[in-house]
Symmetry: D2
């Protein structure tokens, strides 16, 4: 018996559920879970089913692809460990949280490498027997620095996700386009508030009563990609912005790991500039 | 074009989704939204679909009932205002919140009456042109008191829900059985903590750092029915139990109105002693 | 025995607590509660004490004023009902929440009037025997419209707060300056995100996973005044912006009432563009 | 210049604040922060001041001790790294979270050792160059097993806190009394709900809509000690109890680390069976 995640992203149309469930039924597939969402505004249909049965993966995909001549996007995924690269700068909390979950076997991932523009996290990464690449940005143009990183990444053909676990440099459009909807960033504010540098300082100066974090796919506009997960925490006037930073780290790491977990379970659909989580 | 809510609660079985969606498809029904849940532990399947089309309500029900010889529980509901009775004791906040939503047309309900064992809320209820029944419990046995209430309720044949908006008396099994899974109570704690009387005082004495509220269907065991909605709020040592009570009211009223809103949209399934919200 | 709230807002300086507590001690005042905050960044000291004793209000103020030649801002307040005016447009939830608390005696206020640029809330307000002023803005310049409102407000000499309970018009600087730090607004987003019109629509389009509300004092820059209280709620992709608006109302009303409650208990200090809540 | 944390826990009495601030003032101490709380129900006064000045620690303590003949509990603490021992069973998340913060220098602690009744976390602990003690409970009475642990602990004379980071065995009264108000436990439910074993399974069976965690000092009654911190997360019917366990880990680790952080900053006072956090 094989288990598959069937992901469908299509123009909404009468009969879709019927046609899909018909294929499941006539191929003797058991539906373990099934979520659907119709975006009525844009006429879009999203579906994630977990099915179990004897059919071959490519066979199932072929049958599903026959149901419509439309531009339907269908994936049949056999669960497997996802290959990820983590990019960091100097802070260890978001990286550390992923490393600990990895060590505990909680996340279905292979961390194929950690890339940083500093080397202070090298010792931490080495403890977990993971390859660490120190790619300093000093004396390099942004493009030259990214070229070095892209070269490292190019070794990993099947890379599923790049996780920016507090990577504090802005990526070029070229880089982002190479990994479209595969780069997950954690931003240390409840977006769209406090875009850009020093969000806790911005938050402190604005005098907000909550702080937060946002995990999102990276697109060409800074801190503007599809949001995957967000959370906040109440604060009061007594916190300095250093305190905010400290408390904020707990939100950041949990939100980023949550987003990564959704990604590796193939639960995230990108719908224009938003996500649908099924 | 008519719109229906189709609710299915059945033993899980291969082909259910296929058979149901087949009926929708072949009767030219458009699926506006569709949620499913499989309780693998108990082999149960739950589904709530909102469909739109030209078919007659009883016709659709008949066709759906043909799909299985099993003990399948299928409902086809045409959206309509639900008839509710609210029962209260002395506090106005939960009642007031429902009255305000009612006045604003936010809830699809008719409040056919408010019953209280005191009369201090009579003036408030009258402002909204709703019938108020004062049924004092003084000098009456529990049974005799309830008999009077049941007599009032018996006038309303189509009563959908009885909302206990801080009704501070314990109902007998007899009363509860008469309105099985139709009585929604708000309990002023995060159940199962602080069952019974004075939960804020219990919370104060235990020194908890959160307070909360729970909306649930009432069953024979005190504060033990299927939970519909819960929420909490952080507190600190500085609160007296009177402060807790005061802050708690905001949670209570929002949680109760949320549960009522789910009920009137036919989104709640009872699954053994739990709820499935679709 | 009289009870006073002593509020001190001063440049931070060694000996302040000593000098103040010395006055309390030597005048036989009992300290019921005492909160302090030092803003080290701006060298500011804030203190709120609730004291009880036999001294006269003006006498206590005089003694406290003697402790420093600095620009110390000291208030001695005897608790009393605050006079408030509520301004609304068409939505009833935030107004209704205050009315219900008022009716229940939960808030220590007199609602001296409700002003609206529409008349659809007149019936609701009348139920509570509160004066309703309909001041249509039609065919009037902003200034002319505000002049009419200011004339109404001018009747109430001791007005403590103006509560904008979803008043959907932008006030002029002239209006705002007349009631400096006395106008409390509820904005239907977690500021500083989604400033201006239609925040839920903005939120929907951005695809956020939380929605929120912010109560703040109104200053000359739109949605930029000192924040008093904020809260948020998790949402998912399935909500339309109308749903967001509906769920958001529960946050708005609770956050606004919370801010009003802090204001009438004299717990809010304005510190530059922020609040200190003691 | 030295910095001290002054902690006072005393019967409430007129003049306390005056007398204490008088000592601060006349010894030329600068007050960096000051929090007070009066428990009016029990007539108790709590105060935590951070002061800075030239005075000697024992000198300051002596002067403060002179202010009252009552049973006043006064501590003058010079900030230093606290010595802690962590006890675990098999799960790594709560331990790992503390290890990562320790590695990042975020917590002002020395982890002098980790004790476990299993050895599967040995490799993880060793990565961080921390001593790991494997003390199997197999074939030992509870008393005999604890005797071995107590022997290890006895090496560390200045032990400040024992952190039970998912240590899944019940401690005897003898053990608990040896470290009165020094043992911090994380319980994986929002206490007082779901005391004892398998709280997530209990939560699943009760059908709650929130899960949570509680950090508390351990006393003689199971899961009944003074609560330091709690948090919860909303869940729905779709979670199995294994899912709850997985999501719950994020709450557990953050709540435990939060409690530990409060403890090492000397912010927790125990007031009967509750905590006051200043």
């Amino acid at each position: 018996m094989s288990q598959y995640r069937v992901l469908i992203d299509a123009p909404d149309k009468k009969g879709l559920v019927y046609n899909i469930s018909s294929i499941f039924y006539h191929n003797d597939l058991n539906i373990l879970s099934n979520q659907e969402f119709v975006d009525n505004e844009h006429g879009k249909f999203f579906m994630r089913s977990v099915v179990e049965g004897d059919i071959d993966q490519s066979e199932l995909l072929k049958k599903l692809n026959n149901i419509s001549s439309d531009t339907v996007n269908i994936k049949v995924i056999a669960p497997r460990k996802k290959d990820i690269v983590i990019m960091v700068t100097k802070e260890s909390h978001a990286l550390g949280d992923i490393l600990m979950r990895y060590e505990a076997g909680e996340l279905d991932i292979n961390i194929v490498g950690v890339i940083s523009n500093y080397n202070n996290l090298q010792n931490l990464v080495k403890k977990f027997n993971i390859r660490f690449y120190h790619v300093s940005h000093e004396n390099l143009t942004r493009e030259a620095h990214e070229a070095k990183i892209l070269e490292i990444l190019s070794q990993y053909q099947q890379l599923d996700y790049i996780v920016l676990a507090k990577y504090m440099r802005i990526l070029t459009s070229n880089f982002i386009e190479s990994y479209h909807n595969k780069i997950i960033n954690i931003h240390h504010s409840f977006l769209p508030a406090f875009i850009g540098a020093n969000p806790y300082k911005q938050a402190y100066e604005r005098g907000v009563k909550i702080i937060g974090a946002t995990a999102h796919f990276v697109n060409e506009v800074l801190d503007n990609g599809p949001i995957i997960a967000q959370d906040v925490k109440h604060i009061d006037h007594a916190l300095t912005w250093m305190d905010m930073q400290r408390f904020g780290r707990d939100i950041e790491k949990v939100v980023l790991s949550r987003a990564l977990s959704l990604a590796i379970e193939d639960k995230i659909f990108v719908n224009a500039n938003k996500t649908v989580i099924l």
